[in-house]
Symmetry: C2
Subunit: 223 residues, 2 copies
Amino acid sequence: MKPTDRYPSPFESCVPLDKFDSLIGRHELLPKSSQYERYATIYCEDSSIDYVYQVVSGAVRDYKLLSDGRCQITAFHLPGDIFGFERGTRRRRTVDAIVPTIVRAIKRGELETAATQDTQISSLLLRMAIEDLDHAREQIVLLGRKTAIERVAAFLLEMDRRLPASGMMMLPMSRRDIGDYLGLTLETVSRALAQLHDQGVLGALDAKNIALKNRARLYTMEI
Amino acid sequence: MKPTDRYPSPFESCVPLDKFDSLIGRHELLPKSSQYERYATIYCEDSSIDYVYQVVSGAVRDYKLLSDGRCQITAFHLPGDIFGFERGTRRRRTVDAIVPTIVRAIKRGELETAATQDTQISSLLLRMAIEDLDHAREQIVLLGRKTAIERVAAFLLEMDRRLPASGMMMLPMSRRDIGDYLGLTLETVSRALAQLHDQGVLGALDAKNIALKNRARLYTMEI
DNA sequence: CGGAGGTTTGATGGGACTCAATGCATGTGG
DNA sequence: CCACATGCATTGAGTCCCATCAAACCTCCG
């Protein structure tokens, strides 16, 4: 279930997210596809904001690097997700591919022009911004007040919701990435996963694949 | 300097924030003013989303309460700030006044209708959402990766920027509120303030008033 | 086969939390 | 006008969760 399904947008009547294509097509916003290999940077902090992107395949991480090497990932973007729509003239964070990834790029200026002419476009952008805001505020609660095990449980449920459904979740990101997303170290993530496995909440568990065995338990642990 | 000044919006050409009044006036969105005393609730989690609000005077906290009493404040809203614009049908967080507060309320449905008819309205809403998103992501980095002293330094600089300029900051919120905003306990906040005072970064310091003596030092500590 | 990158597991330490006492205003009623 | 209560804030002592440091263990490929 996507968050859009669970919490209908105030502008629900306007534009389902999967009609993005037809909408931008109407304004001749031709997206340019590019391929990035693992760990290739799509844009970095302080660069100018020229494009808005959509993940076609693969996965990217959106993060801020502090001067002493500390890293905080603010979001993972998966196929279908739109990212890189920011205020101002300079990027505030870096985005790079965590697996081989294809993204489409639309010129930012053209999208903005279209938005001033078409309320469906601006409503769609608003809706996306509010979805991102919702997610960011959930993450604030997680980072501010939840324990390591609660964070990992929440992460697993988020990925279960966002990754293609199957018996086994295939995570594109490393333990370090998960830690940098959850405000933990990779060791703590690893220990939390081991603990969940020992408690029978997880079935199979290796570096990239995790099977959720008891979602109900996970929901109670996430709180 | 307000964040709007520092980071021009992609829709900068459209609507400066202080023209909100004339814009909503054009659509006959008559705001209804109400007064709330200290700790009175403006809306609470799971209530229906009927209004969008603007702080006229005072200050409010926007927070999530976990089942066991843990609290995370996601934002403080000060005079001029607009809050309560959310997706879905039910509130996800609670907002209440931290000092005697006056807010104006606009019917959500009417604002949304106006937005579908007027790209200036929807651009303004988009701009506000993106500003909030920026702020939320800064907070994510703070909560995920910064130490107690760095969090308190960042908080002081944020309040210095947002509260009316004068020799002395008058904070409307308690130490507990600051802790709940920064993902710390009130004791840790108190100790951090004492430490900053000892280091000569702060001048006068009591429960509600703080004087910043060395902003440059604070900026280096915030990183 | 062997090295590299990532993950798991173990031992130890530290920064923030918890619990508790004290300090300090503001307000209230005798 | 002053005891007393009340609500915060400060300060101290002890604890714990997670970070750090370190070593072993994959597993994938050249």
